[in-house]
Symmetry: C2
Subunit: 312 residues, 2 copies
C-alpha cells in the first residue's frame, strides 16, 4: 500500500511507529566500542531508514537490492573490486575524498582511489620503466614532491598504476602479469622521473552488476584518460590522486565523478624524430610534468605506509 492511500491520521500513526523502530535500532548500537563508531552507525541507520521510508521501498525492490549486493560480492575477487566500483559510480567515493580534503589551499587535490590498486607492486629505480611489456605509447613522467612552501620532500614514495593502450589494467588480463604498476622514491631534492604508458580513455568493467546498473540508466561507463598516483612520506598527508589528460572528450562525463580541474594537465606528444631523455624508444612518445604538493600531517605522526590501503 502506498503512503498516499492512507488517511491523514493513519499516516501519522504509522510514521510515529516507524520512527520508534528507527530509534530502537539506533539505541541497539549504544554499546558500540567507541563514541565515533556509535556516531557513524547512528548516522548510517538514520539515513538508511530515511531512504526506505522516503522511497516506500517495495518488498520486490528490497529483494532486488539484496540480490544486487550479493552479485556485487560474488563479482569481487583479488583482482576486481566491484564494491569500490559501485561506490565510485554512485559518487560516494568522490564525496568521501572531498569531505576529507586537506584545508591547505596549496596542496594537490585528491581524487578517487578506483578499483584497480594492488597492495604489492614492484619497485623501480628513478628513470626506469613501469610498463613491463604492457602495450602503448611510451610516456615520460617527471616532477617533484614538495610541501606547501615548495620545500622538497626527500625520498617521497610514489605508487603509480595505469591502464594500457587497450584501456585495461594488468589485473584485467588473463594470467598473473604485473605491468604498468610499481613504486619509486623521489631523490634528495624531491625530484622523480620514470616511464609509463600514455593513458587512454576506457570503459570501467561493464560485465558485472555495476555495468548492468549503468546500462539500465543509459549511463556511459567511460572514464577520461588518467594515470593513478599515491604519494606519501613520513610526516605528510598521503595523497591519492590522478593526472588527467587535457583535451580528453570524457572529462565532462567521468563515470566515477573524479575529475578536478587542477588535475587536468597537458600530456605533450613528441614525434619519433625527437630523442627522449635517457632512453631509446621506437616511434612517437609523450611526456607530462607535475609537481605534487603534500600537506603536513595533522598530528605529525601519520606515516605513509600505515595509511596505505590494506589488501581487501
Amino acid at each position: 500500500v502506498s503512503a498516499l492511500d492512507l488517511t491523514e491520521s493513519e499516516r501519522r500513526m504509522r510514521e510515529e511507529s516507524d520512527d520508534a523502530l528507527t530509534d530502537r535500532v539506533v539505541k541497539s548500537f549504544a554499546g558500540a566500542s567507541s563514541p565515533r563508531e556509535r556516531a557513524v552507525l547512528e548516522s548510517l541507520v538514520r539515513h538508511l531508514h530515511g531512504f526506505i521510508r522516503e522511497a516506500t521501498l517495495t518488498d520486490d525492490e528490497w529483494r532486488a537490492g539484496i540480490d544486487f549486493l550479493t552479485r556485487t560480492g560474488h563479482t569481487t575477487n583479488e583482482c576486481r573490486q566491484e564494491f569500490i566500483l559501485l561506490s565510485d559510480i554512485l559518487g560516494a567515493s568522490m564525496l568521501t575524498v572531498r569531505v576529507n580534503q586537506t584545508e591547505d589551499p596549496a596542496a594537490t587535490d585528491s581524487t578517487v582511489f578506483g578499483p584497480f590498486y594492488l597492495s604489492a607492486s614492484p619497485g623501480i629505480e628513478l628513470g626506469d620503466a613501469l610498463a613491463q611489456g604492457a602495450p602503448g605509447r611510451p610516456l615520460f613522467v617527471r616532477g617533484t614532491v614538495c610541501g606547501p612552501s615548495g620545500e622538497p620532500i626527500s625520498g617521497a614514495r610514489l605508487e603509480v598504476w595505469g591502464a594500457d593502450e587497450e584501456g585495461l589494467y594488468d589485473v584485467q588480463h588473463e594470467g598473473q602479469r604485473v605491468a604498468n604498476r610499481g613504486h619509486l622514491f623521489a631523490d634528495d631534492s624531491g625530484n622523480f622521473t620514470f616511464w609509463s604508458i600514455h593513458p587512454v580513455a576506457y570503459s570501467i568493467p561493464a560485465d558485472g552488476p555495476v555495468g548492468e546498473l549503468l546500462r539500465s540508466a543509459e549511463r556511459s561507463p567511460m572514464r577520461p584518460a588518467h594515470l593513478h598516483f599515491v604519494v606519501s612520506a613520513r610526516g605528510w598527508r598521503t595523497l591519492v590522486t590522478h593526472l588527467f589528460v587535457a583535451g580528453d572528450r570524457y572529462l565532462g562525463s567521468d563515470a566515477e565523478f573524479g575529475v578536478v580541474d587542477s588535475l587536468v594537465v597537458p600530456f605533450v606528444e613528441h614525434p619519433a624524430t625527437e630523442p627522449p631523455p635517457g632512453r631509446h624508444v621506437d616511434g612517437p612518445w609523450s611526456s607530462v610534468a607535475y609537481d605534487f604538493v603534500l600537506a603536513p600531517s595533522a598530528d605529525g605522526l601519520e606515516t605513509a605506509f600505515g595509511k596505505l590501503p590494506t589488501p581487501l
Copy 2:
C-alpha cells in the same frame, strides 16, 4: 580535516560544491528505465551522500565499509544470506515490511523474511510432519486461512520453516538434508494441520561480518523462538510472517527487530500422557493454533507464486 576546522565561508563553499556533486550524480540517473527506478535511485544517492557528509566519513572508514561489504558478499552462498542478515540487524528489513503493510486492520501482521528461506521445499499432506528427523519436541500446528470477513481461502499455500531444538536450520547443518521445512495446502474450508518442532530461541549466525558488528556494539545475537510462514493464494496479498512463542525471554530484544505483539501466541505444552491428535508421539509435545487473515490483492491479479522470492 574535520568540518569544524574550517572558517564559516570555507565551510559554506565546500558544502555548496559537495551539493553540486550530489546533484550531478542524481542527474546521471535521469535516463533510468522507468520513473520509479529513477526516483528510487535519486533517493538512494541523496541519503547515501547525506550519510557521508553528516558523518564526515574518513578514508579509513570508507575502506572498512568496502571491506565489510566484500566479506559479507563472500560469506553469502546458497545456504547463507549474510546481506539479508545485515539488513535484518539494521532494522532495514522490518522497516521495509512496515512501509508495505496492508492497510486492512483485520489482516495478519507481517514480519521479516529472514536469511534461511529456500525457494524449493518438499510438499507434505495435511496432518503430516515437516521435521524429517530434525531433533526437537513435536509441535502440532493447526488453524485456518481466511479473508478479512472470515471467508475461508480454499487451497491456500503455506510455506513453513523453522529451527530445530539446537536452534539451527537445516541449511546450517553439514550436508544437504532438508528438515523442518516444507509446504502444504489448506483444505476447501481453509483449514490446515501439520507437525513441526517446538521452536527455541537461538543465536543468528555470529561467525561472519554481521556477528562481528554485533559483538563490536555489544549487541545480543539472540532471536526469540518462532516459526516462519509464507501464506499465499491467488487473488490475495502474500503474507510473510512468524508465530512467536509467548513467554520467550528474548521477545523484547530480538536481534532482527521482528516482534509484533499480535504474532506472539501461546504454544501449549502437553504431557506424554495426553495423546496427540492423529499421530503417536513418544514423550511430551506442544500445540499452537492460529488463523491467518489475508488481505485482498490490490489489483486482483497478484498471484502467490509470482510474488514468492526467487532464489538468490
